[in-house]
């Protein structure tokens, strides 16, 4: 996992912003800085984006930065395998992030300050159940997860694959692992 302090990226991209992620233009320049940082990471790495030093985050900026950062990673044919986890997110940030993720039908893994990790954004009930199952067990095989949540094997397999494509879980040989688990 590679830690990226969003406030450092913001300072580099837009020093006049003073820790506030507002306006589309600011979101776009910060995204391009972070995209470059992620591109330097090894294939399959998890980038932990730390918002703890960020003040205000408005929706326009969240759309330009967070949603547009994640969209290409979750496309049918992404150029590389990258994962993102958000940390240091407060309630104000969450309002904006959740709204923009839902607009695009996206979801992200967010680890809150109390250490609890949640899926934020658009997820189906089956996706959430399976994701929770994999998180609780720190990894699970398809049959194990299917039995735990009471889904048919094929449905569980397909949903878990979707979670991997959406960059919310990782594939570990024949099993599925939470983001952050050893690859």
């Amino acid at each position: 996992m590679s830690h990226i302090d969003v406030s450092v990226a913001l300072e580099a991209a837009a020093p006049e912003a003073h820790h506030h992620l507002v306006t589309r233009r600011t979101g776009a320049v910060v995204r391009s800085v972070i995209e470059r940082q992620i591109a330097k990471l090894a294939e399959g790495s998890v980038a932990v984006l730390d918002f703890s030093q960020i003040g205000v985050l408005d929706r326009s900026c969240a759309d330009e930065f967070v949603a547009k950062l994640v969209l290409p990673m979750t496309s049918e044919r992404p150029s590389r395998e990258s994962y993102v986890v958000l940390v240091g997110v407060n309630e104000g940030h969450l309002d904006a992030i959740e709204a923009v993720l839902e607009t695009h039908g996206l979801a992200l893994v967010v680890r809150f300050d109390d250490g609890v990790t949640h899926l934020v954004g658009t997820v189906s009930q089956a996706e959430r159940q399976l994701w929770d199952c994999v998180m609780t067990r720190a990894g699970a095989a398809v049959d194990e997860a299917a039995e735990a949540v009471g889904l048919a094997l094929e449905e569980a397999q397909s949903t878990l694959e979707t979670l991997v494509r959406r960059r919310l879980l990782r594939r570990l040989d024949d099993a599925f692992a939470p983001l952050g688990a050893p690859a």
Binding site: D58, R59, S60, V100
Partner: protein
């Protein structure tokens, strides 16, 4: 011949309509004198809109400032004359760039011309007015960020869509004697740019509309979150503002061209949800009123 536009004694959002009505009767290229001599009270909406009025004229208008000393002093502290001098020919003398020591002016009249201005506005509100906002409105931390977000989105609307600069101002009031019965903070964000109808001219909403006017455009932008960009992520700013204002029992109105919309009308006020056929005024004028949080039972 110079046309005289009389500014009412109390210049708020509703009363500014009387100025617009007078303006509508004047040819676009006519010289105007904005006569504020008898004005004794102006809200952020009134002051920002007066600057937009000057911006919208082909010929530099004249301005007669308020005669009342206290009013004159307040307008100076709000930095009105600093920008009015660039747009109007001021008849008479006005106080020179008085420093704002007025704790009720949370953000003096501030121009919005670009990205840096929006960042500066948010920075100033976060640094200087945070304590006042908490004390005045009793907002929870989450809602305090919503305040800055609303300010930022409204100001961003100017740089994204207006095609020219505008102004923002934030002021608190004690409205204990009015129907709302508590302290409020007003945010006004006004520009004299192209307005919602022109901004959405190339949008899908325009292409699909049977009828296309300021009212339809305003409804599309404010209620349906339509943007001139095809990107589905666009149009979220106003949607976010609307959601936050509703959550904190506030009021939001937007005027553009010949239409005005009040998508959030709280119980403590009355208004018309959507109006068309008003006298034309260029650009977009956004007014947000945020009352102090009611004590929980």
């Amino acid at each position: 011949m110079t046309a005289v536009l009389t500014v009412p004694a109390s210049l708020d959002e509703a009363q500014f309509e009387s100025v617009i009505e007078q303006l509508a009767a004047v040819p676009a290229d006519a010289k105007v004198l904005v006569d504020a001599r008898h004005c004794r009270f102006a809200t952020p909406y009134g002051l920002t809109a007066l600057l937009c009025l000057a911006q919208s004229r082909a010929e530099r208008p004249d301005f007669a400032p308020p005669e009342d000393e206290q009013t004159l002093s307040y307008w100076a502290r709000a930095q009105f004359f600093r920008y009015a001098e660039e747009l109007y020919t001021i008849r008479g003398t006005v106080p020179r760039r008085a420093a704002s020591g007025d704790s009720d002016v949370l953000l003096e009249l501030t121009p919005v011309n670009g990205n840096d201005d929006v960042q500066g506005i948010v920075r100033r509100i976060q640094e200087k007015a945070q304590q006042i906002l908490n004390a005045t409105l009793d907002l929870e931390p989450r809602s305090t960020m919503g305040f800055s977000m609303t300010l930022s989105e409204a100001a961003s609307n100017i740089i994204e869509h207006a095609g020219r600069g505008g102004w923002v101002m934030v002021q608190r009031y004690n409205w204990s004697k009015r129907r709302v019965g508590r302290d409020v903070v007003q945010i006004a964000v006004c520009d004299a740019g192209m307005g919602f109808r022109a901004s959405l001219e190339g949008s899908r909403a325009r292409a699909l509309a049977d009828r296309w006017d300021d009212q339809t455009a305003l409804e599309a932008a404010v209620i349906q979150g339509v943007s001139r960009f095809a990107d589905p992520g666009r149009g979220q700013g106003i949607k976010g503002m609307r959601g936050w204002v509703h959550r904190i029992d506030g009021k939001l109105t937007v005027r553009s061209g010949t239409a005005r919309i009040a998508p959030i009308i709280p119980d403590w006020d009355e208004d018309v949800p959507l109006q068309g056929g008003l006298p034309a005024f260029p650009g977009a004028q956004i007014n947000v009123i945020i009352p102090r949080r009611m004590a929980r039972p």
